[in-house]
């Protein structure tokens, strides 16, 4: 079966500017990213802030135009943003936002807002829409008496449930979650993660889950792509990638998650400055912080090569043979 979403060589460049009269510096927020999301699959995208995760999410939905590359949804080229065809497609691909309070209209009750996609896409009769709203609210764990509430009267977790219910109203095939739990308290994060897990349950919904929280990604995702400065440096099935990371950056990222029973000093601590997309190092963008960097890293951009079944990594020091031995 063809993948639900397929992106090829996506490029997004922003014009950054230094100082008042400074020359515009092109910032390659997303630089040649290709990925696939199969039906019913959840793809995690992890990386530091500034690595282009959120931009990639917006490119995948067609909210932002890509300067290069293509996105195919269900075998069709994604229409241009703002066109009638693009708007109609919103019924099939939706987004969950980092800050639910900002994503909700504070002047409308939550029932009105959950109903809005149904009104926009003219789904069903008014009675059916009412019933659908009640069903969605039940599904995300909101009480019926909360229907008339305004967003500011709800807690952070409840607001995020409203955003999720609204995104699910038209029964989409794809949900892009852009850091859906990072603005929430840890105690509330678990509720939202559990809700997302339930949604995965019936296997019809595909998800792109953007996060910097590796624990959540590991918990939710079937496959994971690790981004560094606008490029995917490693991708693979969640279990294998976390158990056996190949790229030095992924290794550092994974070792940074504290685990009970493991000494803290075994962590790989990254040296050097955090990535700045405006000043992208030559060759492998990770080389200034990499312990294994050699001359070839400074000169040549590594390609993603298969290192294990289903797993790819972009590093000059990782070879297929080595990986097989390690695996």
């Amino acid at each position: 079966m063809s993948p639900l979403l397929e992106a090829n060589d996506l490029v997004r460049v922003y014009a950054g500017r230094k100082g008042l009269f400074g020359k515009a510096v092109p910032v390659r927020a997303v630089d040649g990213v290709s990925l696939r999301v199969n039906r019913g699959e959840t793809l995690g995208i992890v990386g530091e802030s500034g690595s282009g995760k959120s931009t990639l999410g917006r490119l995948l939905l067609g909210v932002d135009p890509a300067q290069g590359g293509t996105v195919q949804f269900d075998g069709q080229q994604l229409p241009e943003a703002g066109t009638q065809a693009w708007r109609a497609l919103r019924a099939r691909m939706q987004m969950v936002y980092q800050d639910p309070l900002a994503a909700l209209d504070r002047r409308l009750t939550i029932a009105t807002q959950i109903r809005e996609p149904l009104d926009i896409h003219r789904v069903g009769t008014p009675e059916q829409r009412e019933a659908r709203v009640a069903e969605l609210m039940r599904a995300v764990g909101l009480r019926p008496d909360q229907a008339g509430r305004y967003p500011h009267e709800l807690s952070g977790g409840q607001r995020q449930r409203v955003v999720i219910a609204r995104a699910l109203a038209t029964d989409p095939d794809l949900l892009v979650c852009d850091e859906p739990v990072s603005a929430l308290d840890v105690s509330i994060q678990a509720q939202v993660v559990n809700l997302l897990r339930e949604l995965q349950g019936d296997g019809r919904l595909s998800m792109v889950f953007i996060s910097h929280d590796l624990k959540v990604v590991r918990n939710l995702c079937d496959r994971v792509a690790v981004m560094y400065l606008g490029r995917i440096v490693e991708e693979g099935p969640s279990e294998e990638l976390f158990a056996n990371p190949q790229h030095p950056y992924t290794q550092a990222l994974i070792s940074s998650v504290p685990e009970p029973g493991r000494a803290l000093d075994s962590r790989v601590i990254l040296q050097g400055e955090p990535p700045n997309p405006a000043r992208r190092p030559s060759g492998c963008a990770f080389h200034p912080r990499c312990a294994r960097a050699t001359d070839i890293c400074r000169g040549q951009v590594p390609d993603l090569i298969p290192v294990a079944p289903g797993q790819t990594a972009a590093c000059h020091h990782v070879t297929g043979a080595r990986a097989t031995r390690a695996a």
Partner: protein
């Protein structure tokens, strides 16, 4: 003011009830005054005791309190109360008409700028800067001097007063709503620009626009008064508040009631609008109910 129990959830009905019972006295006064002014304007023809041009030369410059002329008469023996009532009507029509024109025009341009960005935005911002830099009174004088003064021209001209404020506010708020907030989320839901602007952005920025309207409204009354005072606004024998003040100035020392009446009406009306507008903005915002 009673303290609401924070644990109880106010239903909408109770909110309305509380809003009706807890109007501050100043706002209550403002509402009453505005209602009186609107009634005056609507029923001017029935309310006023005399025709505005009816002269009573034997009772010229009678002071207030004279039986039959409770607010006195002017230099031609015309009843000040009758003229005041007619003035309220004319001035309110001009101020309401102009405020609505400038709000609609400015908000539309602001939203267009926010939606299309690029060249459209540059053009709108340039127009707004041009408008802000223009001495409006002098431009009005020029236009009225060339085309002659008529009620319609006056309303339209006043309608161009202050639109740049609405345009700037609407543009700024729409852009910030679209950049990361609810508007972007609704666009992503598949809404048409029309829906985004009319259903979401407009209600959200309405409170700010209403405040801006309550600022522009008195300014337009004053502007019209100024123009009439200079003799280019409302033309005699028709009368407006500014027109009355303008013609009354010659008798300021001998018969001050001719201009004090309209001056007090101008002041109270503008004050009432500011008070009510401010209160209304708070009431319209569900987050600070």
């Amino acid at each position: 003011m009673t303290f609401a129990n924070p644990s109880e959830t106010p239903t909408r009905r109770r909110g309305v009830l509380r809003a009706a019972t807890s109007v501050p006295p100043a706002v209550g006064f403002g509402m009453l005054w505005l209602a009186l002014m609107v009634l005056c304007a609507l029923f001017a023809n029935w309310v006023r005791p005399y025709d505005i041009t009816q002269m009573d030369l034997s009772a010229r410059l009678s002071p207030p309190g004279t039986p039959g002329h409770w607010l006195g008469t002017d230099e031609l023996g015309r009843d000040v109360l009758s003229r005041l009532i007619q003035s309220v009507r004319v001035s309110l029509v001009i101020a309401f008409g102009a405020t609505i024109i400038s709000a609609v025009f400015g908000t539309t341009l602001g939203f267009l700028a926010a939606q299309f960005r690029g060249v459209v935005e540059h053009f709108v911002v340039m127009l707004a800067d041009f408008q802000a830099a223009l001495p409006f009174l002098i431009m009005s004088l020029a236009v009225l001097a060339f085309f002659g003064s008529s009620m319609w021209l006056l309303v339209c001209l006043m309608g161009f007063y202050g639109w740049e404020r609405y345009a700037r506010i609407a543009r700024g708020l729409a852009i910030s709503a679209g950049a990361q907030g609810y508007a972007a989320a609704v666009v992503q839901l598949g809404a048409t620009p029309r829906r985004v602007y009319l259903h979401h952005i407009l209600p959200n920025v309405a409170s700010t626009l209403i405040v801006s309207m309550t600022l522009t409204f008195p300014e337009i009354i004053l502007m019209e008064s100024g123009l009439s005072f200079l003799g280019l606004g409302v033309q005699p024998p028709e009368t407006s508040l500014g027109n009355m003040v303008g013609f009354g100035r010659e008798y300021l020392t001998t018969a001050p009631w001719i201009m004090l009446g309209p001056a007090v009406v101008i002041m109270l009306t503008t004050l009432s609008i500011s008070l009510v507008g401010d209160w209304l903005r708070d009431k319209l915002d569900p987050t600070i109910r």
